[in-house]
Amino acid sequence: MSGLLHAFTILAVSAGVVFFIAGTVGLVRFPDVPTRLHALTKADNVGLGLVVLGLLPYTGGLLGALKLVSVWLLTLLSGAIVTQLIARAVR
């Protein structure tokens, strides 16, 4: 069981890290602000989600897990808002 959980964590976190790196690549390569915004926020939010998912077994209790999930949800919300705000400000 523990081995399975470990494998799950490694898989999820690695995938998360890959998304973060992808987001950065997008930031470096894309030509203008809106496209860079796309690359950044989407990839990073998925990355964070995967990291959170991978760390869930280590939170030690329901409350900790709940906190972790709400961290992700809050980041999603603020990410969406900020993307909209910046995109409008640039336009």
């Binding site: 809050l74 919300l77 603020s78 808002i81 909209q84 705000l85 409008r88």
Partner: protein
């Protein structure tokens, strides 16, 4: 591996700090400051100071960042005011600062054989305060006088900010958010986030007695939520002459002071707590302080009164 991580974060902090000082555009420098604050709270976690990490996240990058960002945006036109000193002056200043840094690094390298600490003493006395978070114990019991005086400092700073309004605007409201055209996304955000924030602030204040957190962090979250509501134009900034605002401002420090004087009667003296009720009293003080801190910080960030209100 942990050391590699620390080296990474330290070099990022230094690089960002240098970039902040060198950046041409003030607005950019301020945004970098926000980034710096975010990284700094990770550094505090690495130093096992979670209470400080929370404070840094809330005040250091959150509300200070907002304050400086709006100021930088308002001062965009004044950008070339004053010239950088000439190159030789910069070099001289640079060498002086490098010397100070080197001296400080030397002090870091010369630690005592056994680093002095008050941690055992703080933990040993914690039972008398009824608290489980030693940092809260220091803030609200051992060094309560500092905390109380610091509340007065906050109030004075607010009065100082208010005093910078014009004579005519005294008693009016800060202009924050008064001229914002409606923006549906911002309004949506300012309606969704504050309930979550208020719950979190209450949790922070409540949990502070036993876990990292407390009135400072909770109060700052409250302040940020209120500022968000004001900036989105959902609610107006209140006039500074409002009786409700004034009472909220002093409620925390006044309760703190009252409990302090009560200590003369029911405990061993000023700012001492009776052992049985210590925790209850401290939590009560923290709740009142969180409210007062929230209002004070928000009004500090909102700036001096600019709009005179029609009676």
């Amino acid at each position: 591996m942990a050391l590699v991580f620390d080296i990474g974060i330290v070099s990022l902090l230094i690089a960002i700090g240098a970039w902040m000082i060198m950046a041409r555009d003030t607005l950019v420098a301020v945004i970098i400051f926000v980034v710096y604050g975010l990284l700094m709270s990770i550094a505090w976690v690495r130093l096992s100071a979670v209470d400080v990490a929370l404070t840094e996240a809330a005040i250091g990058s959150g509300i200070t960042g907002m304050l400086l960002l709006s100021a930088a945006a308002r001062l965009r036109q004044t950008e070339g005011a004053g010239a950088r000193p000439s190159f030789p002056v910069c070099v001289a200043a640079g060498s002086l600062c490098a010397l100070i840094s080197a001296g400080l690094a030397g002090v870091v390298l010369l630690p005592a054989d056994v680093a002095p600490t008050l941690a055992p003493l703080a933990v040993a006395n914690l039972a008398d305060t009824g608290l489980e978070n030693p940092v809260a114990g220091v803030l609200f019991a051992y060094r309560a006088l500092d905390t109380l005086l610091e509340k007065v400092v906050l109030l004075l700073a607010l009065l100082g900010v208010w005093s910078l309004g014009s004579d005519r605007a005294w008693g009016g409201a800060p202009a924050l958010g008064a001229y914002v055209p409606p923006n549906d996304i911002l309004v949506f955000f300012a309606q969704v986030l504050p309930p979550i924030g208020i719950v979190f602030a209450a949790y922070m204040t409540w949990t502070g007695a036993s876990h990292p957190g407390g009135a400072f962090q909770g109060g700052t979250v409250l302040a940020v939520m209120w500022l968000l509501v004001m900036m989105a134009g959902v609610a107006r900034a209140p006039p500074i002459s409002s009786t409700k605002v004034r009472w909220l401002l002093v409620a925390g420090p006044a309760l703190f002071l009252a409990v302090g004087f009560l200590g003369f009667v029911i405990a061993a003296g000023f700012l001492a707590y009776p052992v049985d009720y210590a925790k209850a009293l401290i939590v009560l003080i923290e709740i009142a302080l969180a409210l007062s801190i929230g209002v004070t910080l928000a009004l500090l960030a909102a700036g001096p009164p600019e709009r005179t209100l029609q009676p």
